[in-house]
């Protein structure tokens, strides 16, 4: 089934120069395996095509059940020259949590409580 990331993961983003960076975290190991498979550089590049002018970088961290994502050229040259309200890229993580992936409905956070 199609699942938005906010249902199964949490995320924080920040800035360094013209780079927005995101940590995406699974709440459990089973979900992490799905994130690692489905959240690819290609999918990320497509999702962030409107803001990332440079390449997307991605590192899986099995020990943290996390993906580290870096969007190069995503902040209009950097926070201090950006015209955006979100010049610091603090909400890029929220934008990521809106991305939908293919995931089994049996994941722990998707099962009825």
């Amino acid at each position: 089934m199609r699942v938005p990331l906010w249902k199964i993961a949490h995320a924080r983003s920040g800035d360094k120069a013209d780079r927005a960076d995101i940590g995406l975290f699974a709440y459990d190991a089973e979900t992490y395996a799905v994130l690692k498979r489905e959240v690819t550089r290609e999918r990320l590049a497509a999702h962030f095509a409107a803001i990332a002018r440079g390449p997307v970088e991605l590192w899986p961290l099995d020990n943290l059940l996390a993906l580290k994502i870096v969007l190069n050229g995503a902040l209009q040259g950097g926070a201090a020259r950006s015209l955006r309200m979100d010049n610091l890229g603090k909400n890029v993580a929220a934008a990521l949590l809106r991305m939908e992936i293919e995931a089994p409905e049996t994941l722990p956070r998707l099962r009825a409580p």
């Binding site: 360094k16 780079r19 940590g23 020990n63 993580a93």
Partner: protein, 456 residues
């Protein structure tokens, strides 16, 4: 095993020091590591210094110490803070003045040598091109527009200042995590080539450098953020660091917030690029081997930091003038709130074009609809908004244009679409800054680092 406890101070210029008192009184800390400088703060301080040569330091260091020092002195707690900004001696003078007024005694150290704004040509002559780290561009392109340039120093001068008996260590630009790593390495007697231990200390410093973000603040999530207890009294993170480089991260008892695997790993990866090579002046950290042990009760054990030798070059971040921003904001209520914002944007575009102003970029954002999510806003409710604000900004090299641009907006109140709100004055031109990150041989910087310790 020997250990030391360090607590987080501020996480940025303007952060609150109120939660630090709990760390001092109930957190068992021996040091507070306080970060007052974001990547951009030096630009603000440079403007202060242009107006007043005695300024140029983060002003919140003085009231913070004025309020917390009585508790710190009682509990034997020392402060390491980068509030020196571009003028650590100026900051020292201001703090010394405040202490003398109250009759307090302290040994205050300053660490200087990070600022290289006056040394650009000298460094270039010494064979450092100072090319842009990411783009490779020649610094000549911005040389005449540079406003500040500071190297990120490491933990060694901080540890040296503590070894000389300092109670308060005031620095300018240092790696944020060095504010913690300095006292940790000093207390635990680490050598500067014990890479794995240093990597453990750096991990702790990174978890502490953003104050409340290390203890449940800004917990990026849908729904889960609401489970963080007692935000109003959120305690800042505290770390007990052991001789072998492992640590226990917690927060003072009786405070709000949460220290858990979830909240700590969000901070661990925050503003990190390659997690297998997190470069600091003192050590290169590999986060891939870290092990977190969430013991419950706001206690998380951390071990296994990977450490590789420190880099041969230090990072400099310089800032340069990069034009002006003009800004206008106007709000509309139902009906057709969004459509009226859109119409206003069209009107402003027409006025700008008719004036032939030299405008390089126009950014149109709708507050209440897409000003934070941008292209990822969901258009489903766009046309049913109860209210919406247009925020429209321009980039121009001409300051007068940026000022005049803001003055276009009030006129819309009587001559534009209906049901307007919140015309809270005209927004003046705002200076825009480009950031120039570059690298320099560390010897060229370290040979100029000075540590001075004086008693007040």
């Amino acid at each position: 095993m020997k250990s030391v406890r360090v607590g987080a101070g501020l996480g940025f210029y303007g952060d609150s020091w109120r939660p630090v008192r709990a760390s001092i009184e109930r957190g068992g800390v021996k040091y507070i590591a306080s970060d007052h400088l974001s990547e951009l703060t030096l630009a603000i301080l440079q403007k202060d210094r242009q107006k007043d040569a005695a300024a140029g330091y983060a002003r919140d260091g003085v009231p913070m110490l004025a309020e917390l020092w009585p508790f710190a002195a009682k509990h034997g707690v020392k402060f390491v803070l980068n509030a020196g900004g571009l003028n650590p001696q100026g900051a020292r003078e201001a703090i010394a003045r405040a202490f003398r007024d109250k009759g307090w005694k302290a040994r205050i150290a300053t660490v200087t040598g990070d600022s290289v704004a006056e040394r650009i040509d000298e460094l270039r002559a010494a064979g450092e091109p100072l090319a842009h780290m990411d783009t490779g561009a020649d610094i000549a392109a911005v040389r005449e527009r540079l406003l500040f340039a500071s190297a990120y120093l490491g933990a060694q001068p901080i540890a040296a200042a503590l070894a000389q008996g300092a109670d308060i260590v005031l620095t300018g630009r240092v790696a944020d995590a060095a504010l913690s790593l300095g006292p940790i390495a000093h207390e635990l007697g680490w050598k500067w080539d014990q890479w794995e231990r240093l990597a453990g200390g750096l991990t702790v410093g990174h978890l502490l450098e953003c104050s409340g973000q290390g203890s449940g603040g800004n917990f990026g999530s849908a729904g889960e953020w609401a489970q963080i207890p007692d935000y109003a009294h959120l305690g800042y993170p505290v770390a007990e660091v052991y001789e072998d480089g492992s640590a226990l991260v917690t927060k003072p008892p009786g405070t709000g917030g949460r220290v858990s695997f979830d909240t700590l790993r969000q901070q661990l990866l925050y503003e990190v690029h390659d997690p297998h090579a997190y470069v600091s002046p003192d050590v290169v950290l590999d986060m891939g081997s870290l092990r977190f042990d969430d013991q419950g009760g706001d206690r998380v054990g951390i071990r296994g930091a990977g450490g590789a030798a420190r880099p041969a070059k230090l990072k400099i971040v310089a800032g340069y003038h990069d034009g002006w921003m003009g800004q206008g904001i106007i709000g509309f209520a139902w009906p057709e709130a969004y459509a009226k914002c859109e119409k206003s944007a069209e009107i402003i575009r027409t006025l700008v074009a008719e004036r032939g102003w030299p405008v390089e970029d126009i950014e149109v954002e709708y507050i209440g609809y897409n000003s934070l999510l941008g292209a990822h806003a969901d258009p489903a409710f766009r046309d049913q908004l109860n209210e919406c604000f247009l925020r429209m900004t321009i980039r121009t090299q001409d300051r007068r244009v940026a000022d005049a641009y803001g003055r276009l907006f009030p006129w819309l109140g009587l001559s534009g679409p209906p049901y307007i709100g919140s015309m809270k004055g005209v927004q003046p031109a705002k200076e825009l800054l480009g950031i120039w990150p570059t690298l320099v041989k560390r010897e060229l910087i370290e040979s100029k680092v000075r540590i001075e310790v004086e008693s007040v």
